[in-house]
Amino acid sequence: MIDKTVVDAASAVADIPDGATVMIGGFGRAGQPVELIDALIAHGARNLTIVNNNAGNGDTGLAALLAKGQVRKIVCSFPRQSDSWVFDDLYRAGRIELELVPQGNLAERIRAAGAGIGAFFSPTGVGTELATGKEERVIDGRRYVLEYPITADFALISALKGDRWGNLVYRETARNFGPVMATAATTTIVQVDEIVPLGSLDPEAVVTPGIFVNRVVAVGERHWLQGGSFVGGVDLEGKPADAAEEEAA
């Protein structure tokens, strides 16, 4: 019997070595695999290269990983945000390397890695400083720059539900980078709200087939859902909305 489920987040990330390249899903906080990141922090692997759209928000998740000094380099499209102070300080202190990639090139380069594409001519970034030093070609009258795949040793992503084969479905815009990252990493580790019995996911609606997934760990239902239904009552960080109001008061 195939069983990709893992007992907890700690064992799911236990073999990530120092120096690994790790893709981390999420767009801002949505879809960020917070429990896996916390486990990676506890695990302590250092000198990591992180691929993510952003460079951390607030003091939790990816930001906390950065704060612990475990990250050597980050590949992302949008590091500077209103709540990216952890990254900002590290970057200004010269303690983290940044490779800035336009978001569409980031997504397509990750897809290319998973799809066996050697390189592709992209319309994005042409004539800008982010294309400096890149091969350019005019095809059918339009300018393109050559972009190469981005691979990783591990991908840490978050999904709504998974089964023991690793089939996944996501929720709303928390889907974002998960499906392409799952295809591009040697080892893909997924946190899900719930592991469901094999055969209970609609085969027409599976977004990530299990072939792209190595480990699945259940972390419990996100607390703005109850029994699968949206109940609200939280802020964008997922904290109780009334607590935030009390804080503000």
Binding site: A30, T124, V234
Partner: protein, 211 residues
């Protein structure tokens, strides 16, 4: 101030140019305001590059859903007829030229349609590009929404961008607080001047030969 319209008036002006059935991406910041002025009786489908077509307005109190956000990482909703997709599919949609309109902010727009809106190039600034370069080259029409003048009164319409480029020759129209400009092979053409503005006065403000 009869030579300037307000930001909300400008958003309404842009909204009035978007036809029913258009697929539209509204950039982070001021362009987001345009959504408030799209007529409710017209079906205009909003795209957000983090994976949603059919984006709706902000949720009501207590109904914030952390899984449902826009590119500016604000809480949004989804309308009936919406579809979710992953990031590579979303950007394929943009880069493949399927969006009808995107509305972006700008630091500078050059008369050949070059856009600079992602970096001032200031030393020590932390660069961040996001989806700006993909939006700039992807939509059938790229509209810029901006004040005509920067805080130091310099013109944001320029002969040539001095800030780092976002995209080359990509802007089709610029909506400013003073006037609306089309980008043409011969440079900027005044499409509509607000209030007391004239081609001559706009020419003086921008230092550009205008049509």
């Amino acid at each position: 101030m009869s030579t300037r319209i307000t930001r909300d008036e400008l958003a309404a002006r842009i909204a009035a140019d978007i036809p029913e059935g258009a697929f539209v991406n509204l950039g982070i910041g001021a362009p987001t305001l345009v959504a408030n002025y799209l007529p409710e009786d017209l079906e205009i489908i909003l795209h957000t590059e983090n994976g949603l077509l059919g984006m709706g307005s902000a949720p009501v109190d207590g109904q914030v859903d952390p899984d449902l956000i826009n590119a500016g990482k604000q809480a949004v909703t989804a309308v009936p007829g919406a579809a979710y997709f992953h990031h590579a599919d979303s950007f394929a949609m943009m880069r493949g030229g399927h969006l009808d309109v995107c509305v972006l902010g700008a630091f500078q727009v050059a008369q050949n349609g070059d856009l600079a809106n992602w970096s001032t190039g200031a030393p020590g600034a932390i660069p961040a590009v996001g989806g700006a370069m993909d939006l700039a080259i992807g939509a059938k029409d790229v509209y810029v929404m901006t004040d005509l003048l920067a805080k130091d009164d310099s013109s944001k319409l320029v002969a040539e961008c001095t800030y780092p480029l976002t995209g080359v020759g990509c802007v089709s129209r610029v909506y400013t607080d003073h006037a609306v400009f089309d980008v043409t092979p011969e440079g900027f053409r005044v499409r509509e001047a607000f209030g007391e503005n004239t081609v001559a006065s706009l020419s003086e403000l921008t230092g550009l030969e205008l049509q």
